[in-house]
């Protein structure tokens, strides 16, 4: 029910439409459900709409936690 993919805002086009990119693939999507998305932000794209702006600080914290675990795992 919830296929949404993180993509980078590459260009803001006319009212509420943005060009986003993920993995080299670009698509036009609607920004009507989020406020204040800027070029360089990452948004979650679902059914042609951005449904949220990715909180990059939180993403970083989560990734750090995981990487820490991966490192610990290397200790036999």
């Amino acid at each position: 029910m919830c296929l949404a993919v993180p993509a980078e805002v590459v260009e803001i086009l006319e009212s509420d439409i943005a060009l986003v990119e993920a993995g080299g693939a670009r698509k036009r999507i609607s920004l009507s459900l989020v406020d204040g998305a800027k070029v360089g932000d990452y948004v979650l794209v679902h059914a042609g709409f951005a449904i949220e702006i990715v909180d990059e600080e939180e993403a970083r914290k989560t990734m750090e936690l995981f990487e820490e675990l991966a490192r610990l795992n290397e200790v036999p």
Binding site: L3, G24, A25, K27, R28
Partner: protein, 335 residues
């Protein structure tokens, strides 16, 4: 006779299509040569073996990044012959044109046929042209039939894989299907993403000249998943594939992630799946990599003893899951 009409799934390259062939078409035709559902029929002629095949092309749109219906029509038939180890020689060209098709489009397509026939080393020696009313044929449908000759000792069959064979694919998967779909779905790409459509006749001969190839299949509709399942089943083996070793371009992955599709099920038009005996794998891989059509050739797995027709996948996480035969057409999903 089933009470439901023909549906899109019947053309999807999956189980529905197979059912249509096995339950309806083959029994009516009653021809033994059809029963193995090989890519081409091998015909014993006095002194020779011929491969004979036919294919119809209904791609929409007619022109897409990396090709067009004309190129597809040549390569599709040439490749089916190549999958039996044949040297493709002659093809026919049957055109069904929609009333109102611009002349320039026809010329462009036929030019493409000519170019790619030459590239593939085949001659277009017969054909037919029909025109149907506006609203039919989506612009143009093409049918090509092809004949190739099989040198002694070079016949290849889908039934030929054996346990311990190495499974090889000659490059990235999913490019054709995504290139075509992207035209329709409004995706664009930073780098050029093109169909992989290419003729493989000479490529296969170069493989066969350095080693044995037990089995070949081209992963067209239904993708690599269908080809793996069909080969495993026909050969009576189980296959194990290593997900990390299957090459997928970033852009193809990204579009698949967004649309909820799986690159393993997306059509290819310039790829082959080969089962090669372990002892010959290195030589065959070497020959493949020397050819531009095999630059990305990679071992993706192995045939094993096990449940006949079962294809399992080892994920990069070290976990395991199945790859099943697709049922109909892959539909973009959101859910």
């Amino acid at each position: 006779m089933p009470d439901k009409p023909i549906s899109i799934a019947h053309g999807g390259g999956g189980t529905r299509m197979r059912e249509l062939l096995v339950q309806t078409i083959f029994p009516i035709l009653g021809e033994e040569l059809l029963l193995d559902a090989e890519d081409a029929a091998v015909l014993a002629m006095p002194g020779e073996k011929l491969a004979f095949t036919t294919d119809s092309f209904v791609v929409k749109p007619l022109f897409f990044p990396g090709g067009d219906i004309g190129k597809l029509a040549v390569c599709g038939t040439v490749n089916d012959l190549a999958m039996r180890g044949a040297v493709p020689l002659f093809i026919t060209l049957g055109l069904i044109l929609e009333e109102g098709l611009p002349f320039g489009v026809l010329e462009d397509v036929v030019t493409s046929v000519s170019t790619w026939a030459r590239n593939a080393g085949v001659k277009v020696v017969a054909g037919d042209t029909k025109v149907v009313e506006r609203g039919m044929a989506d612009g143009m449908y093409i049918n090509t039939s092809g004949i190739g000759i099989i040198e002694k000792g070079r016949e290849v069959s889908i039934k030929g894989a054996s346990p311990n064979d190495v499974l090889i694919v000659n490059g990235y998967v999913g490019e054709h299907g995504i290139a075509v779909l992207s035209e329709r779905e409004g995706f664009s790409f930073e780098a050029e993403l093109k169909s992989d459509c290419a003729p493989l006749g000479g490529f296969v001969q170069s493989m066969l000249s350095v080693g044995r190839v037990h089995s070949l299949r081209d992963p067209t509709r239904g993708g690599l998943a269908a080809a793996l399942n069909e080969m495993a089943y026909s050969s009576g083996c189980a296959f194990e594939v290593v997900e990390g070793d299957v090459l997928v371009r970033e852009e193809v992955r990204a579009v698949c992630e967004m649309l909820g599709m799986d690159p393993l099920y997306v059509a290819n038009e310039g790829r082959l799946l080969a089962a090669v005996p372990e002892e010959d794998a290195e030589k065959v891989l070497g020959a493949m990599r020397e050819d531009p059509l095999g630059k990305g050739a990679a071992v993706i797995g192995r045939a094993k003893e096990g449940r006949k027709g079962e294809v399992s996948l080892l994920t990069p996480l070290g976990t395991r899951r199945l790859i099943r035969m697709p049922s109909g057409e892959q539909l973009p999903r959101i859910c």
